[in-house]
């Protein structure tokens, strides 16, 4: 079992790029920020290195950070430009009983990151949900399509803060 600082140092020494790995504190939780281009390699490293062995992904959640520029529209809703969308990875080692939170932030206008479903199997559905709800695109995902919304939904990504209901869905009025 390693402490947060030890894991952070280990990652920093193995992935040396500038600003690729950093740590931050949100509330009481320590978080390791990883750049989108590295997340797959970092995950692989965390899962397979002896002494870390993060063999299980508890939760992968997409979050709209709502930190862009807001423009109020006529119907009181906001349009948001700029800022970031984030993905939080809660991972844990069943074998060594320790936990870690990773965070990847992507630009709202270009929300592309890499899938970790080849490292943790359950990431497959979690990533599909993050794509469905927030609109984050996971490269190298085996089958990235909507999961909770209908497959032919074209009304956008419901959990984005600037989401607006479309007027029609398949010729039916929304809200009906």
């Amino acid at each position: 079992m390693k402490s947060f600082e030890e894991i952070l140092e280990l990652l920093k020494s193995n992935f040396s790029g500038e600003n690729d790995i950093s740590s931050s504190k949100e509330g009481t939780e320590d978080i390791i920020n990883v750049s989108p281009s590295l997340i797959k390699e970092v995950s692989k490293f965390l899962a397979s290195t002896e002494g870390l062995e993060f063999d299980s992904l508890i939760l992968l959640s997409g979050v709209d950070d709502e930190n862009g520029e807001k423009v109020k529209q006529e119907d009181e809703s906001n349009d948001i430009t700029g800022g970031t969308l984030s993905v939080y990875y809660h991972i844990e080692s069943v074998k060594l009983v320790h936990k870690l939170i990773l965070k990847v932030s992507v630009e709202r206008e270009n929300p592309v990151t890499t899938s970790v479903s080849s490292v943790w199997g359950c990431a497959n559905w979690h990533e599909r949900e993050a794509f469905d709800m927030i609109g984050i695109i996971f490269n190298e995902h085996p089958d990235l399509k909507r999961i909770l919304m209908p497959y032919d939904w074209e009304g956008g990504y419901p959990l984005r803060k600037d989401y607006r209901n479309p007027e029609f869905y398949n010729g039916m009025k929304v809200p009906y």
Binding site: E26, Y88, V94, C122, W125
Partner: protein, 360 residues
């Protein structure tokens, strides 16, 4: 198969590619019960969310509330009176028994045993009666509140719960004789839907489905929350008694053994519960500081987690549910190929999914 198939425990559609009766490929399609729970949360205050949380896994509402209030209390950093912790554990364990009874009964029903279903529902009814005198509701309670519970236990509650435990203990034996060791039932479930250990961990499978594969992993022991470290209980795991380790029968039998452990916890909790005020720590206004929190509890179905992102308002900025059934179902395409169509029913039944929390 589905979405209106009786054995899918809700509205689940499974797309099967078959070679005769044999499954080549299986793909579940979900979302038929999607009702925007997470979007709703962003427009509600924290206490207002609790009734919605009930409707995730509607067979284990108490445990859902337990998880959610823990996540909010973690953000608020408040101390909970001891009596409240005991009440939460007692209601949570009763609910676990009720949920397992549904799981066992309907699993038998899925593979063709009708009588055990009637027996388990008869006993579950008694637990629902206990909840009814506690908070007036039988299924969706809104009982666990942030910082406490909505009101104290009924004066008769502990006596009735004790009576229930005495009544119920022999019934587990009855169920074993009726279903668990039934030859036809074993034929249908042993060696079917085996989840190997590494696959189970890699797919994040949790709860009885993980323990059925032989891993001693229970959040109540491995990452204790509330006051679970005060109780003496075991974690039953699958041993491959009827066939291969991690098959449908193992997952089934872990639930039976867990019922007995829950009874043990209940007895200890009833003996130890202190007097006290249950509403004293309920905050007037739930307005946590900025930050994130993830709290998880051992639900009857597996690990239920709530991930809350707060920006400091009275409403959360984001609530994400780690629904055990969602994750457990995602392993299905991995284990189904090679089995017969009729085994799909057994595998789904043994995973014990509830579509209410898969689709949210």
């Amino acid at each position: 198969m589905g979405p209106q198939h009786p054995s899918t425990h809700g509205v689940l559609r499974v797309e099967l590619k078959l070679d005769g009766e044999k499954i080549i490929e299986a793909e579940p399609h979900i979302g038929y019960l999607h009702r925007c729970f997470e979007k709703h949360c962003e427009a509600l205050t924290y206490p207002q969310i609790i009734p919605y949380v009930d409707r995730l896994d509607y067979l284990a509402s108490m445990n859902n509330e337990f998880g959610f209030v823990l996540a909010v209390e973690k953000l608020l950093k408040i101390e909970i009176p001891e009596r409240v912790e005991y009440i939460r554990v007692i209601t949570g364990e009763l609910q676990r028994i009720a949920s397992h009874l549904v799981a066992l009964g309907t699993f038998g029903l899925d593979v063709g045993a009708f009588t055990p279903f009637l027996f388990t529902f008869r006993d579950r009814e008694k637990i629902l009666n206990l909840f009814e005198i506690t908070c007036g509701a039988r299924l969706l309670y809104n009982y666990h509140w942030v910082g406490g519970v909505s009101h104290d236990l009924h004066p008769d509650f502990l006596r009735l719960t004790k009576e229930f435990i005495d009544y119920f203990r022999p019934k587990v034996e009855e169920l074993n004789g009726l279903l668990s060791y039934n030859k036809i039932f074993i034929e249908r479930t042993a060696n079917i839907g085996v989840i190997p250990v590494d696959v189970a961990i890699n797919y994040g499978v949790s709860g009885p489905s993980l323990r059925g594969s032989g891993i001693k992993w229970d959040i109540r022991k491995n990452d204790p929350y509330s006051i679970y470290n005060k109780f003496d209980f075991d974690i039953p795991v699958g041993q491959g008694l009827a066939g291969t380790l991690g098959d449908c029968w193992d997952r089934y039998f872990v639930r039976v053994l867990e019922i007995e452990q829950s009874l043990r916890i209940l007895e200890q909790a009833i003996a130890q519960i202190p007097e006290g005020d249950v509403t004293s720590a309920i905050p007037k206004r739930v307005k946590p500081n900025e930050g994130i929190s993830y709290a998880r509890v051992e639900n009857p179905k597996g690990e239920l987690g709530f991930f809350i992102v707060s920006k400091g308002g009275v409403q959360p900025m984001r609530v994400k549910v780690r629904a055990p059934s969602f994750v457990n179902l995602s392993v299905f395409p991995e284990i189904a190929p090679g089995h017969m169509v009729s085994d799909v029913v057994a595998i789904l039944g043994s995973l014990d999914i509830v579509l209410g929390e898969i689709d949210r």
